[in-house]
C-alpha cells in the first residue's frame, strides 16, 4: 500500500532568471480577477548597485509567502484567515469583516483591501488550479522559468531538488513567520 503523505506546498524563485517582465502579475490578475488597482504578487527591483561601469541589478518576484506560522492568521479576530494542512493560507470571505488587522501583521505587505467586497484578499496559491492538478498561474506564465512551486515533503519534486542543490534564503527570517517561499540567487 502506498503511503499517503501530507503535502506542503512551497514556492522556489530563481532570482537570476527574473527579467522583470511582470507577466506573473498580469497572469495572476487575469486568473484571479484581481481589481486593477491591486496586485497579489510583485517584482521588486534591487539596485542598481555599484559604480559605472561595474553595475548590477536584480529582480525579486514575490507574493503571499504562505508562512508556516502566519502572523496574519494569529491576529485574525474572526478566524477568517486560516492555514490548510498543505500549508496554503486562505481568507474565508464569509467570516472576514475587513478590519485590516492582518494587513498590519503581514511583514511582507502581501495583503490588500478589496474596497468593493469590503474584505481583505491575497494570493490563494491558485488553490483552484493546484487542486485540479495544474500549476499556479504565476508559475505557468513565467516565461524564463524563474518561478517554481511544488510539494517540499516529496523529495523527488522539482522544488525539493532545487533546494537540495542550491543555496537558498527566505525573506525577513527575523519575523519568525517561516515563509514558504525560497529564493535562490
Amino acid at each position: 500500500m502506498k503511503e499517503q503523505h501530507q503535502k506542503r506546498y512551497v514556492f522556489v524563485i530563481e532570482i537570476s532568471k527574473c527579467i522583470d517582465c511582470k507577466a506573473c502579475m498580469v497572469g495572476c490578475m487575469a486568473e484571479n480577477q484581481v481589481p486593477v488597482e491591486h496586485s497579489r504578487n510583485w517584482v521588486h527591483q534591487k539596485g542598481p548597485n555599484g559604480v559605472f561601469p561595474d553595475l548590477g541589478m536584480s529582480f525579486e518576484p514575490g507574493n503571499c509567502m504562505h508562512c508556516e506560522n502566519p502572523p496574519c492568521e494569529r491576529v485574525c479576530p474572526t478566524r477568517a484567515t486560516y492555514k490548510r494542512d498543505d500549508g496554503i493560507v486562505l481568507v474565508n470571505k464569509d467570516r472576514c469583516i475587513g478590519c485590516k488587522y492582518c494587513m498590519m501583521a503581514c511583514p511582507y505587505n502581501a495583503r490588500y483591501f478589496d474596497e468593493k467586497k469590503g474584505v481583505v484578499d491575497k494570493c490563494t496559491f491558485c488553490v483552484h488550479r493546484v487542486t485540479a492538478g495544474l500549476d499556479t498561474s504565476c508559475v505557468h506564465t513565467c516565461m524564463t522559468g524563474a518561478r517554481h512551486f511544488g510539494d517540499i515533503k516529496d523529495s523527488n519534486s522539482e522544488v525539493s531538488r532545487l533546494l537540495a542543490t542550491h543555496e537558498h534564503h527566505v525573506k525577513l527570517a527575523a519575523a519568525g513567520s517561516g515563509p514558504a517561499m525560497y529564493y535562490i540567487y
Binding site: P71, C76, M103, N109, A174
Partner: protein, 309 residues
C-alpha cells in the same frame, strides 16, 4: 524607500483615544468611590456617568472603519486568544455593559425608570468586576499595536504601558475638565478636595508616561536596524515636531507643570490646593489633545514602518 499605505486612519485613532478616556474615567471613578465615597462622591458619580459614553462612540466609529460593518457579529462568534483584537472586542462589549449598569446606579432618583434591587451591592460589584475590565480596555489598545512584529515602530511591550497610563491620564483630565467647567453643587472645601485628588493622581500618571517614553527612545537607538529606522519618524522624520512639541511638551510637560504648581504647595506646606478653573480647563485640555496626538503619531507612524532585511 517602500511605499506605505495608511489603512488605519483617523477613525481608528479617535477610537483608541475615546476608549482610553472611558477606561480612565471608570478607573478614576472606582478609586474615588473606594477611597472616600463621601468626600469624592462627585468624582465617583461623574466618572461613572462618563465611562460608557466615549467608548460607545468609539466603537461606532470602529464599525464604520470595517470593510463590512454589518458582519461585525463575526467577532462574537469566536474568542481567539492569540488575537488582541478578538480579546479586545470582548472586553469592550463587557466594559460597556458594566459601565452602563454602574452609571445607572448613580442616576438621580427622579431619572430612574426601573428601580434596581440591592443598588449598593450592584454599585460595588460593578466596580470590582469593572476595574480589571477597564484596565484591560486601557492596556489592550497598546497590545493591539505592540504585538505586531511587522511594524517595528509599534513592536515594543512599553507601548501597552504608555497607552494604559495615557488612557488613565486622559480619563482623569476629562473629569478635571468637567469639574472645572461645571463647578458642581457643593461647598468650596469639597471642590478643593476633588481638585486635589484629580491633580495628585494625574501628576503620578504623567510622570509615569514620561518615564515610559524615555526608555522607548533610548532602547530604539540600541535595537535592531528595523526599529532604529522606524523611530526616525519622530526623530527627524514626518512626526518629529508633532510628537515632541505636541505630545511631549504641550501634552505632558506643560500640564504637568501647571498641575504641580497647583497641587505641590499643598503637599509640602499646610496650604490649600489652588483652585483655579482656568488652569484646570487649560491643563486638562492640553492633556486630552496630547493624548489624541500620541495615538495619532503612533497609529500613523507604525504603518509607515516596516521590517528591513
Amino acid at each position: 524607500m517602500e511605499h506605505f499605505l495608511i489603512e488605519w486612519g483617523q477613525l481608528v485613532v479617535f477610537y483608541l483615544f475615546l476608549a482610553g478616556i472611558s477606561a480612565g474615567a471608570f478607573v478614576t471613578s472606582v478609586f474615588a468611590f473606594h477611597v472616600d465615597p463621601d468626600r469624592y462622591k462627585n468624582i465617583a458619580r461623574m466618572g461613572a456617568f462618563i465611562a460608557p459614553i466615549p467608548v460607545s462612540i468609539g466603537c461606532a466609529l470602529l464599525l464604520f472603519d470595517l470593510g463590512r460593518p454589518l458582519h461585525f457579529y463575526n467577532l462574537y462568534r469566536t474568542l481567539q486568544w492569540t488575537s488582541p483584537m478578538s480579546i479586545g472586542s470582548w472586553l469592550l462589549a463587557i466594559f460597556i455593559m458594566i459601565g452602563a449598569v454602574r452609571a445607572y446606579t448613580f442616576f438621580p432618583e427622579a431619572w430612574k425608570i426601573v428601580k434596581l434591587p440591592f443598588e449598593h451591592r450592584i454599585r460595588s460589584v460593578t466596580a470590582l468586576t469593572g476595574l480589571p475590565i477597564a484596565l484591560g480596555v486601557g492596556i489592550y489598545t497598546g497590545i493591539l499595536l505592540g504585538a505586531i512584529t511587522a511594524r517595528p515602530f509599534w513592536n515594543t511591550p512599553l507601548l501597552a504601558e504608555l497607552f494604559l497610563f495615557s488612557a488613565l491620564s486622559t480619563g482623569v483630565a476629562t473629569l478635571l475638565l468637567i469639574c472645572s467647567l461645571n463647578p458642581l453643587q457643593g461647598p468650596a472645601e469639597s471642590k478643593r478636595e476633588e481638585h486635589k485628588f484629580l491633580l495628585s493622581f494625574d501628576v503620578v500618571l504623567i510622570t509615569i508616561e514620561l518615564f515610559i517614553i524615555i526608555p522607548i527612545i533610548l532602547h530604539s537607538q540600541l535595537s535592531t536596524l528595523s526599529i532604529r529606522e522606524s523611530i526616525h519618524v519622530i526623530l527627524g522624520g514626518a512626526f518629529t515636531s508633532l510628537f515632541w512639541i505636541g505630545t511631549v511638551l504641550f501634552g505632558l510637560l506643560v500640564p504637568l507643570a501647571i498641575e504641580l504648581f497647583e497641587v505641590f504647595p499643598a503637599f509640602v506646606r499646610k496650604v490649600h490646593t489652588k483652585w483655579n478653573p482656568v488652569l484646570g480647563v487649560l491643563s486638562s485640555l492640553l492633556i486630552i489633545v496630547g493624548g489624541y496626538l500620541l495615538r495619532y503619531v503612533v497609529t500613523y507612524g507604525g504603518q509607515m514602518s516596516g521590517m528591513i532585511e
